[in-house]
Structure formats: C-alpha cells, structure tokens
C-alpha cells in the first residue's frame, strides 16, 4: 500500500517540477544560445496565464485548446520580437554587452507587461474553475486539472528533448551553444537559430503560464517567483545543459513540495534559495557540466 504522503508529494513534485522545468528550459535555451538573460521569463508565464484565463472567461474556449493556442501565439510573438528588438543585439556576435543590454530590454518588458495586465485585469488574484472533479489515486483525491497539467507539461518537455537530441535543428542549436563562430563556419545559419530559439523560449514560458492557470490563482506579480525559480534551475542544471535543466527543475519541484508539505510554503521558498546558494558555493559553474 502506497502511503498518502508519498502520493501527495509525488503529485506536488510533478506539478511544480514540470512548471519549473518548462521555465528553466525557456530561460536556459535563450541564454545559452543568444546570451539574452531573460529576467522577464516569469512575466511571460504571467501573461500566458492571463491569456488562457481571458480566452476561457470571455470566449469560453477550453483551456485544453488554449494551451496549444498560447504556445503557438507566443512563439509567433517571440519571432516578431526577435526581428524588432533582439536581432540588433545579437547581430554583431554575442558578448557581455549583449547580456547587459538584454537586462534592460527585459526589465522594460517587465514594466510594460505588469502594468498592462494591472490596467486590464486589476491587481487582485484571478482564477477559474476547470476540471475540478477529483480523481482517486491510491486513496488520495487529486484534482483532474493537476493531472492534465502534468501530462501536457511532460509531453512538451519530451518533445523538446527529442528535438534537441535527434533532429538536425537540435544539433545546430547545440553547436551554436558550444561555439557560435565555429557553428557559423560549418554553415549553420546562426540568425535563423536565434530566431527559432527566441520564439521557442517565449512560447514555452507562456505555455507554462497557461498550464498553471488551470490549477493556481494568479496575479500580475507572480512573475518574479517563476523568474527566480528558472534562474535557480538553470544554475542547478548548468548553462547550455538542457537535460540537466530538466533534472534541476524536478529537484527544485521536490524541494518545494516537501518544504510546503512538512513546513509551510514560505519555508519552502527560503529552503530553495538556501540550496541555490549552497550549490553555487560548492560548484560555482552549476552542478552538471558539459552539454548533453
């Protein structure tokens, strides 16, 4: 007989871990390919959540459909934003200056995104009820939307993993991560890779938001929490290491679930930051080395 605590913890770990992995991959992919440090990752999550909420409450479009819609929509938005803003930054090769300039761009995006959402939806918590019926798993009642979240999230992560490990596009991305100049020399169109990366990254972040809107309530300032989680996951996994990021996301999910279950959500957050610091103290370049 599986104990109740075990089932609850596993589900909570998977819920949090999937979300953290998604935002972690989003941040890590973008940073390692283009050196754009997206401190607005959480804001894209937040906007994704509000988009699905808006589609559901105004047009009664099922969130199951919205998840895909949001992914596609924000991928297109990412491609457009690359053409409008980021191309200028990455055109002359990537460097420290790209990083610093990207901080400013993303900070502006934070300001615009938060205030736009506050003006449109006010700054109070929002949420909607969707697939609230409970499913019995080993004697524990779990809301069905959590299972949907896990299934959709893991599917997306699997797709990313397959894309990066088997397809030519994935290989080209990894080559760009390893050495941009050399990748150009062997005939990889780095600008195209940049375009695809930005679009994929923003799409994934918004997709994570869309998923979480089914389960959690959200407000315009939840972004910071997901940004910092993504940063922690990236540091655990190592820059440019996408498989490590998946492990890191699940690990952070576990810490969070266990901390919330045994102590309180506040303590869980404090513990995650503590672990983050401890890892950097021992391994200043992240836990997992190399590119997988």
């Amino acid at each position: 007989m599986v104990s109740e605590a075990f089932v609850t913890l596993t589900i909570q770990t998977l819920v949090a871990g999937t979300l953290f992995s998604l935002v972690g991959v989003s941040l890590n992919l973008l940073y390692s390919v283009t050196r754009l440090l997206n401190i607005a990752t959480g804001e894209f999550v937040m906007i994704g959540a509000y988009t699905t909420y808006w589609l559901f409450t105004e047009f009664s479009i099922s969130p199951l459909l919205s998840h895909v819609l949001v992914l596609v929509l924000f991928s297109i938005a990412g491609a457009v934003s690359y053409i409008l803003a980021f191309r200028r930054l990455t055109e002359q090769g990537v460097s420290e200056k790209t990083e610093v300039a990207s901080l400013l761009i993303f900070f502006s995006i934070i300001l615009v995104a938060q205030n736009f959402i506050i003006l449109r939806f006010t700054s109070t918590y929002q949420g909607y009820a969707f697939m609230m019926q409970s499913v019995n798993i080993f004697g524990v009642n779990i809301a069905a939307n959590k299972l949907v979240l896990i299934a959709f999230g893991l599917l997306a992560l699997l797709a990313i993993h397959l894309l990066l490990s088997t397809k030519n596009l994935g290989l080209a991305m990894k080559a760009t991560i390893q050495n941009r100049t050399a990748a150009q020399l062997v005939g990889i169109d780095v600008r195209l890779i940049d375009l695809i990366t930005v679009s994929l990254s923003l799409g994934l972040a918004a997709f994570a938001g869309s998923l979480l809107s089914m389960t959690f309530n959200f407000e315009p300032f939840i972004g910071l929490y997901y940004t910092i989680s993504a940063l922690i996951v990236m540091v655990i996994g190592g820059v440019g290491n996408i498989s490590g990021t998946l492990i890191g996301g699940m690990a952070l999910g576990l810490v969070n679930a266990a901390g919330s279950y045994y102590f309180s959500p506040g303590v869980a957050v404090a513990i995650s930051y503590g672990i983050f610091f401890a890892i950097l103290l021992v391994r200043p370049r992240g836990l997992f080395r190399g590119i997988l």
Binding site: V100, F107, L111, V112, F116, V269, F276, F277, L281
Partner: protein, 324 residues
C-alpha cells in the same frame, strides 16, 4: 589643475543652491530632489563595483536591510544613529555573502545577487511569521522630517559622487578596470582581484544601506515587501547603463534625467506612468544604447562621419537626378 578650478566654480553655486533649497521650494519639490539624490547615491556606489564588469542586481538587498533597520529601530534609539547602524549592518551582511558571491562571475553573479534579495526577504518573512505576534508592518511616525532627510540625502549623494571620482583616480579604480578587461590576466600581473572586488562590493553595499535607512522615513510603511522592492535594483542598473559607466558625470546626468522623466510621467499619466516608462526604456535600449556615454563619442564620430555623410548625400542627389 585648471579643470579642477572650473569644477569648483560650477559645483559651489550648485551646492549653495541645494543648501538653501528647503527655504525656497515646497514639500513636493523637496521630495522630488530627495528621490534624485537617492538615485545618485545608489547609482554612483553601484557603479564602483560595475567598473569591474560585475553587474549587480542586488542593490535592493542592502537598501532593504537599511530600510528594515530603520523600521525596527526608529523609536528605540536616537534617529541620527540609525542610518549609520543600517549602513553597518548592510556592510556586515555584505561581508558574509561576499564569500559565495565573489567566487562566481558573469551572468552567475548577476543572477546570484538577484536571488540574494529574495533570500534575505524570505528569511525575514519566515522569521516574522514565526515569532511576531501581531502584524509585521512597522509604521514610522516622525512628524515633519523632509528637511532633515533632504539634507542627509544630499550629503550622502554628494559624498557618493566624490567617492566614485576618488575611486576612479585611485589604484582601486585601475585594478577594477583591469579586472573588467581580463580578470585572469590581472591576477597574473599580481593584482589581488578578490580584495579589490570585495572593497568595491562593500562600498556599494554601505551606501545602499545608508540610503535605504534614510528613504525608510519617506516610505514610512515598512514591512518585508516595501523594504525589499526589486524594482530599486533594476532602476539603479538602468540608470547606470544609461549613464554609460564612464565616470561620475554621466551617471549624475542619467540619474537626473531618469528622475525627471519618471516625475513627468507620474504627474501627467498617474495610471499609465510605469507602462510608458517601460516603453521609453525599450525604445532607448533598442535604438540608442548608452545614451550619455556617447555624447563624448559624438564629437569624434561627427568629425569622422561628416565626409562620408556628405558624399552619401551627394551620391543620393546625383542618383535622383540620374533617375529623372
């Protein structure tokens, strides 16, 4: 020497004006100047570390520690001691966290300083919810203090400018520039990079702590959320990068420019000001990065580009005629 004399000639009237300002202007103008000098103090001290290429997003951490100290102690010990104490506590915590912090570089450093703010905030939150019986917010009630805060803030801001200039001229500044160019090479030349980074980090933390303590009187409602506002870090970095990190002057101009823009937006569009500020940043960063640092470059570029421009125009005009 002549440069110095000219500098004194400009500075002295400005300082005299600032000193008499509380007699001339109203409270609104005074508060506006306080916010300008807050940005000056934060940015000037932040840039000392930034000279070494280490971009810190952790100004809020020490600003918040200072503010929180004021919130806890304002009715317990003499008021004049608290900014000093706030600065000292910020310095102490900076010393402790510098151990993991200064071992990493590049984006890791930036990320870690950002995380530090949230770590300290969440530690205080956990501590408060566990040990505090009633509400956790502290309200600072001091009556009319704007004059005193103003003078203190001006003093801190001006001293930050002076310290920044002294650092640039000194061995410390040279070492920090060397670290920015190439940290390993600097180390191999016998520069104790850790020591200089530590001094720069401590200096910027000290100033952020003192500034936070003073601004807490203005904020007046102090809890872990109002004390630790990550936006303060971001504003500091934005101003610093706009100022070009070439020295105190560019940063000074950027601080004033930023405050003025913010104030104009705040008064004319109370509901949309942050949105507009974001849009302005976006345009500035995307299309003309390093606004103020390029002023000096502009004259050089003008000389070089004018012939090219002229020939460009000539060729366009000739081409237009040929097209007829």
């Amino acid at each position: 020497m002549r440069m110095n004399r000219r500098l004194v000639l400009v500075t002295l009237p400005v300082l005299a004006l600032l000193a008499t300002f509380p007699k001339l202007g109203g409270t609104y103008q005074l508060n506006f100047l306080i916010s300008i000098f807050m940005y000056i103090a934060l940015v000037q001290s932040w840039s000392i570390l930034a000279y070494s290429g280490y971009i810190s997003l952790g100004v809020t951490t020490f600003f918040g520690i200072g503010a929180y100290t004021m919130g806890q102690l304002w009715n317990a010990i003499p008021l004049a001691l608290i900014p000093i104490l706030g600065g000292a506590i910020a310095l102490l915590i900076a010393l402790v966290v510098s151990f993991p912090l200064l071992r990493v570089s590049g984006a890791y450093f930036t990320i870690l300083t950002y995380g530090l703010t949230l770590l300290i905030q969440s530690i205080i939150l956990v501590f408060e919810t566990r040990y505090s019986q009633v509400g956790t917010a502290k309200i600072i009630v001091l009556g009319y203090m704007t004059d005193i805060v103003y003078y203190a803030m001006v003093a801190v801001g001006v001293s930050a400018v002076i310290v920044n200039q002294l650092v640039i001229r000194s061995k410390l500044g040279k070492a920090l520039y060397a670290i920015r160019e190439n940290e390993e090479a600097a180390e191999s030349l016998g520069i104790d990079t850790y020591k200089y980074k530590l001094i720069a980090f401590l200096l910027s933390s000290l100033y952020a702590g003192i500034t936070g303590s003073l601004m807490a009187i203005q904020i007046a409602w102090i809890d872990p959320y109002t004390a630790f506002q990550p936006i303060v870090s971001f504003q500091t970095v934005v101003i610093g990068l706009l100022g070009g990190m070439g020295g105190p002057l560019g940063l000074l101009l950027a601080s004033i420019l930023f405050s003025v823009i913010q104030q104009i937006l705040w008064t004319s569009y109370p509901f949309h000001h942050s949105l507009l500020l974001g849009v302005i940043f976006l345009l500035v960063v995307s299309y003309r990065f390093g606004l103020l640092s390029s002023i000096r470059l502009l004259s050089v570029l003008k000389e070089r580009l004018t012939p090219t421009f002229r020939s460009w125009w000539v060729s366009r005009v000739v081409g237009w005629f040929k097209g007829l």
